[in-house]
């Protein structure tokens, strides 16, 4: 699995959480770019991401995320995916 694979699977998580299959995400995508990505859905996203990739984040790690790229990097680190 590489980071593009992670991004593809993360896109499925976004589609599920926001019930919108037209959403496209990139490493630069931020909460301001996605309708409904508020702090409540941020928690839903994190929980669904953990289930999808069978990993766990620390609370501080999730609070420091700036964009989707940061989330992909974090997932990659948890999965020991080379950059």
């Amino acid at each position: 699995m590489n980071k593009q694979d992670i991004l593809d699977q993360l896109t499925e998580v976004f589609h599920d959480i926001f019930d919108d299959e037209s959403i496209t995400i990139s490493p630069q995508t931020t909460a301001e770019d996605v309708d409904g990505w508020d702090s409540f859905n941020h928690i839903n996203l994190i929980v669904a991401t953990e289930m999808k990739f069978k990993i766990k984040f620390r609370a501080a790690e999730t609070e420091e995320l700036k964009n989707v790229g940061g989330l992909v990097d974090l997932i990659a680190a948890k999965l020991n995916v080379a950059s």
Partner: protein, 493 residues
């Protein structure tokens, strides 16, 4: 991503609206009596304002059942619903006009979205079987049960006590009672299953997490082989990071999971006895302090600070008389007198001003506020700005004007709490920042408008109150450390 429930903008689903309605408080009470979920969040306008949501919210299961009922009315040839996955991203409040939108339809799936303007209050995904098989109505011959006179109160649970909880979930009415409210849904799914969905509301709102709870998600298969089994629950995860509880449920025709948040209880402001450790017994002696909005939050704390320092306090409430009495009870531990008065910035307060003519306040602390973090249905809401202006500008001006008239012979020091939001402009708070900025301008001009009043303005950071008591952890300043220096400065000026 900062702050829970900030504004969101959804797509325009108006072309696919299946139905619209609003829920009244009578609807709230009816569903509470059917489900047993009498959590104050749903039925008590006074106590609901102290919850994280800050106002009465419609039961999520009520929204779901209404949605399924609408769908069943309009799609007569539906197969059986085999799976329900519903999320509640934002609260729905009584009297809001909610629209039910069909966002996706395939032979085996239907997606619905309940919205208020662009605020999404429910995302519903239903899996549908290709053909319909009639569901046996197990209790169809049972008469309706009489309404319950008393329902169990919500459990007050600490988060560490939640892991491992399990048990059975009771029901409070005949399944037939759900038929009457949701006839088409009952015809489609069977009334027992509807009652079980009601019981899911009871599980979250009364049992676990109980008193402080927010229903977030129901993700279940329907299974007729489980219809005769009572609904059982077991906590399979209690996630301390997000204060999120996950239940495994089974019985009453359903099998799956429920997710609910367990936000912290309303914060308790420091007591007078604790404040006395920080405040000299006489440093506010001689003050006759009028604390507007003194029944909770920063107004409550202000009342206690002044009383702890030997000042005399008149505190006001708009709705929470019981809260005001509790504060006064705590103030009674000092030797000062306390008055409790009703004052509502949106109404005529003639009797209040007559009493002020005799109380003759030397200091006024203005903490009248509406709900600050209410979820918006549009990016900018003019009506919301008007509401903030009514509290932070009109209400403040009217108070100052009347006090100056009622007590014309003496000067008064007035504290106007502004907010760092005026400069920092946090997302989703444009209307709030605009109203506070207007209030600042009014205060600045008060020297010429009402020269007898000395107005003190300070922008406060976000401090821990009912309104900032969020699920996500925040580093908030201790309000005593922020307010006390301001009040000491006012006392000396």
């Amino acid at each position: 991503m900062s702050g829970l429930f900030t504004a969101s903008v959804a797509k325009d689903d108006s072309v696919n609206i299946l139905a619209q309605r609003s829920f009244t408080m009578a609807d709230q009470n009816l569903f509470a009596s059917l489900s047993g979920d009498v959590n104050p969040l749903h039925v008590d306008e006074i106590r609901a304002r102290r919850t994280l949501i800050g106002d009465v919210a419609v039961h999520g299961m009520h929204t779901l059942l209404w949605s399924i009922n609408v769908l069943a009315e309009q799609r007569r040839s539906l197969g059986n619903i085999t799976h329900i996955d519903v999320r509640f991203p934002k609260p729905l409040h009584p009297n809001e006009l909610v629209a039910l939108n069909l966002t996706k339809e395939t032979p085996t799936a239907l997606h619905l979205r309940a919205t208020v303007g662009s605020k999404v209050v429910a995302q519903i995904k239903l899996d549908i079987s290709p053909s319909y098989t009639a569901i046996k109505q197990i209790s169809a011959d049972r008469p309706p049960l009489p309404p319950q006179k008393e329902y169990p109160a919500p459990q007050e649970l600490s988060f560490p006590s939640i892991p491992g909880m399990q048990g059975l979930c009771p029901t409070f009415t005949s399944a037939n009672d759900f038929d009457r409210l949701f006839p088409a849904a009952a015809n489609l799914m069977g009334s027992e299953t509807l009652r079980t969905l009601g019981a899911c509301s009871y599980l979250v709102g009364i049992i676990c997490p109980g008193a402080q709870s927010i229903f977030s998600r129901l993700n279940v298969d329907t299974d007729t082989s489980l219809l005769s089994m009572p609904l059982s629950y077991r906590v399979i995860e209690a996630d301390e990071r997000f204060l999120l509880v996950r239940h495994k449920i089974e019985g009453g025709g359903l099998r799956g999971e429920i997710e609910a948040f367990a936000p912290p209880p309303p914060p308790r402001q420091m007591s007078v006895s604790d404040l006395k450790l920080k405040i000299s017994a006489d440093e506010f002696s001689g003050q006759r302090a009028l604390v507007i909005g003194g029944s909770r939050g920063l107004g409550e704390l202000t009342s206690k600070i002044i009383a702890a320092g030997g000042g005399e306090v008149a505190l006001t409430y708009a709705k929470g008389k019981e809260d005001a009495e509790n504060v006064a009870q705590n103030l009674a531990t000092t030797r000062t007198n306390t008055r409790i008065l009703r004052f509502d910035v949106t109404q005529d307060n003639q009797a209040f001003y007559e009493e002020m003519a005799t109380f003759r306040p030397t200091h006024v602390y203005y903490f009248a506020t509406c709900q600050i973090f209410r979820h918006k249905s549009q990016a900018f809401e003019l009506e919301r700005l008007r509401t903030f202006m009514a509290f932070y500008v009109d209400g403040f001006w009217n108070l100052c004007r009347h006090l100056a008239g009622a007590c014309p012979e003496h000067k008064m020091s007035i504290y106007y709490p502004s907010s760092v939001a005026v400069a920092e402009r946090p997302p989703g708070m444009t209307e709030y920042a605009m109203a506070k900025a207007s209030g600042e301008i009014l205060c600045t001009d008060m020297d010429s408008l009402l020269p007898k009043l000395a107005v003190h303005i300070q922008r406060l950071p976000r401090l821990l109150t009912d309104q900032t008591n969020l699920v996500t952890r925040q580093d908030l300043s201790d309000p005593v450390d922020i307010l006390l220096p301001i009040y000491r400065s006012m006392q000396q000026s």
